[in-house]
């Protein structure tokens, strides 16, 4: 008796079923559309327009004037551009390389079975990362002052004071330290979760085979941690190329501004070209150069990591 009642809506629903599928697709597209709309306007379009803009002379108000490669010639013949380029690379290396090694060390120590208070250490190491870069820079500029604590420590070790806020290397050391302070703990926690994903029986097997600590590290830990190292290196590299706030705030104090040669980076150069001098064309050319450098470094990162060991990491990306 009940059967026909049950069957009939089923039979009827054959055609509506298709429209239900279509409706569910439309719903899904609607749900994801805000991101794609906003990204097209404020993410994708700006990148293409930046490339277009780099061939024009423009002050952001008057008419645009096509100048061909002139903007690129202008910036590549400007010594400040090349200083900003090399500063960005130097501080990138100084901030990133020691940071990743230190983070790896901290992660390995935290992972070790004998460490107690793991959770507390995790929180403490992570604290710097929630601080704003402005706050970090302000605090460190007191520590790196001419009579500041760092110089006091250097003197205590029998070394000479360094001019951290004006010297060629001093400024770079100060800025790289700020970057390192804010990110080392963060990267250590990422490495730590990587270490925790490595099955412990691998180590046990290695121990039975007589592998010592260093062998375990180089033959188990490093290869299995590779995807995490690749990710952290990639993110740190991209971040290092975008360095802006630390030098801008740190060098801003003297009034001469952030384009001082010791600490000018590519983004500070871009910023001052556009928003101080009103040269949007050359600023756009700088952005394009920065974009190319970012791509080149990301590709190098990928190539190097797929050469090394080549198994686990390549699959993930």
């Amino acid at each position: 008796m009940a059967q026909p009642v049950l069957i009939s809506p089923h039979a009827e629903s054959k055609r509506p079923f298709l429209t239900e599928q279509r409706r569910s697709r439309i719903t899904a597209y609607t749900f994801i559309s805000p991101f794609f709309i906003l990204f097209s306007i404020f993410g994708l379009y700006p990148i293409f327009f930046t490339i277009y803009l780099s061939f024009f002379k423009w002050d952001a108000m008057g008419p645009m004037k096509y100048v061909g490669m002139k903007n690129y010639e202008l910036i590549t013949s400007d010594p400040t551009f090349w200083i900003s380029f090399s500063n960005t690379l130097i501080m990138g290396v100084m901030g990133t390389v020691p940071q990743i090694m230190l983070a790896l060390l901290i992660a390995v120590l935290l992972q070790s079975g004998m460490t107690r208070f793991k959770k507390t250490f995790r929180i403490l190491f992570f604290m710097p990362n929630i601080t704003s870069i402005v706050a970090v820079t302000l605090v460190f500029s007191t520590l790196f002052g001419n009579n500041g604590m760092i110089n006091w420590m250097l003197n205590g070790l029998g070394l000479e004071s360094m001019a951290f806020n004006s010297g060629w290397w001093g400024v770079k050391i100060a800025i790289s330290t700020m970057v390192m302070w804010r990110w080392t703990g963060y990267n250590a926690i990422i490495f730590l979760s990587g270490l925790q994903s490595i099955p412990t029986d691998l180590y046990e097997a290695a121990r039975i085979d007589g592998a010592n600590r260093r062998q375990q590290f180089t033959f188990i830990t490093l290869p299995l941690l590779k995807p995490f190292i690749v990710f952290v290196t990639l993110i740190s590299t991209i971040g290092a190329l975008q360095l802006f706030t630390e030098p801008y705030v740190f060098l801003g104090q003297s009034g001469t501004g952030s384009t001082r040669q010791e600490g000018v980076t590519m983004v500070t150069y871009l910023y001052s070209e556009a928003f101080r001098n009103g040269f949007f064309g050359t600023a756009a050319a700088t952005a394009v150069m920065l974009f190319l450098v970012t791509i080149i470094f990301s590709v190098i990162n990928m190539l190097v990591s797929s050469r090394m060991g080549g198994d686990t990491g390549g699959r993930k990306k």
């Binding site: 749900f31 930046t50 604290m127 601080t131 704003s132 970090v136 121990r207 983004v267």
Partner: protein, 287 residues
């Protein structure tokens, strides 16, 4: 057996000296991580000369209120805090809503190009925002949004990280049977999302909210580009402006402001540290 036991013990047992070195590095690292926070308050609570005292002053003073009064004279500190609160809250509400919606669609719907679109979302995580700053500025100028909060809020209303984070959580936390049951009961798509999915995923939404609030609160580059007038400054710009004051830098004042602006985030972080750490590192762990 006995040799096995020896092997098993040996690599972990580094002896007393090793153990001391081990903890020495960890504790030194933790001190380096925490000291600047303490130092911030030392400078903020002592008088002007304390910052470059030799040997360095490490004790707290009683000048905090006086230092902070000078902050209020030199800047619209609470106005800036209010502005940051407003902008961060608006962005956060919007980000949590739209990212949850999109994450839900990516986790629980089938539609053409789903994977390609999702990989595209992930790929945008690697595109630095700074690169498109000039055209974005021009768009804002065309819309007459320069020096308004709209310029800060609208572009940030939804982001790739949030979508990624919510999708990961929703795929495991919301059971497909629940959604199907809702559909059989005749619930509309949005109603099912709102009444069935949302209640299950509030922890992930809260985490995303906290993370996003912190990011917007700490943002500096874009506010610096678009905000022109003092009464619109966010807290980070206000702090930076204190530092550029030409007539001798008053570190006691600057640090009292910096400390006050950092404290709320620090409290939130310590209260919700587990969630915050999980959220901030999830990009690496799950990709």
């Amino acid at each position: 057996m006995s040799t096995l036991g020896v092997f098993r013990k040996k690599p972990d047992d580094m002896g007393l000296l090793g153990k001391i070195g081990f903890y020495f590095i960890l504790i030194l690292g933790a001190l380096v991580s925490v000291f600047p926070f303490y130092w911030m308050f030392v400078v903020a609570s002592n008088d002007k000369g304390a910052v470059f005292h030799v040997p360095p002053l490490l004790t707290l003073g009683d000048q905090f209120i006086d230092n902070f009064k000078r902050v209020l004279e030199k800047s619209d500190f609470f106005q800036a805090i209010g502005n940051s609160l407003f902008v961060s809250s608006m962005v956060t509400i919007s980000v949590v809503f739209f990212c949850t919606l999109a994450g839900y669609a990516f986790a629980k719907y089938e539609f053409p190009f789903k994977n390609i679109l999702f990989y595209f979302v992930i790929a945008t995580l690697f595109v630095p925002q700074q690169l498109g700053v000039l055209p974005t500025y021009v768009i804002m100028a065309k819309l007459h949004w320069i020096d308004s909060f709209k310029a800060l809020i609208v572009p940030a209303m939804v982001n790739a990280f949030g979508i990624f984070w919510m999708r990961q959580y929703i795929s495991t936390a919301v059971h497909t049977e629940l959604i199907e049951a809702g559909r059989i009961d005749g619930g509309g798509h949005f109603r099912i999302f709102w009444n069935i999915a949302i209640p299950v995923i509030t922890p992930a939404m809260a985490t995303l909210g906290i993370l996003n609030f912190m990011t917007v609160w700490n943002d500096f580059f874009w506010p610096l580009v678009v905000l022109k007038s003092r009464e619109h400054y966010t807290i980070q710009i206000a702090l930076q402006q204190l530092f550029t004051t030409r007539d001798g830098i008053d570190y006691g004042m600057i640090m009292s402001a910096t400390f006050t602006a950092t404290l709320p985030l620090l409290v939130v972080f310590l209260l919700f540290s587990r969630w915050v750490i999980a959220g901030l590192t999830s990009g690496a762990i799950k990709s």
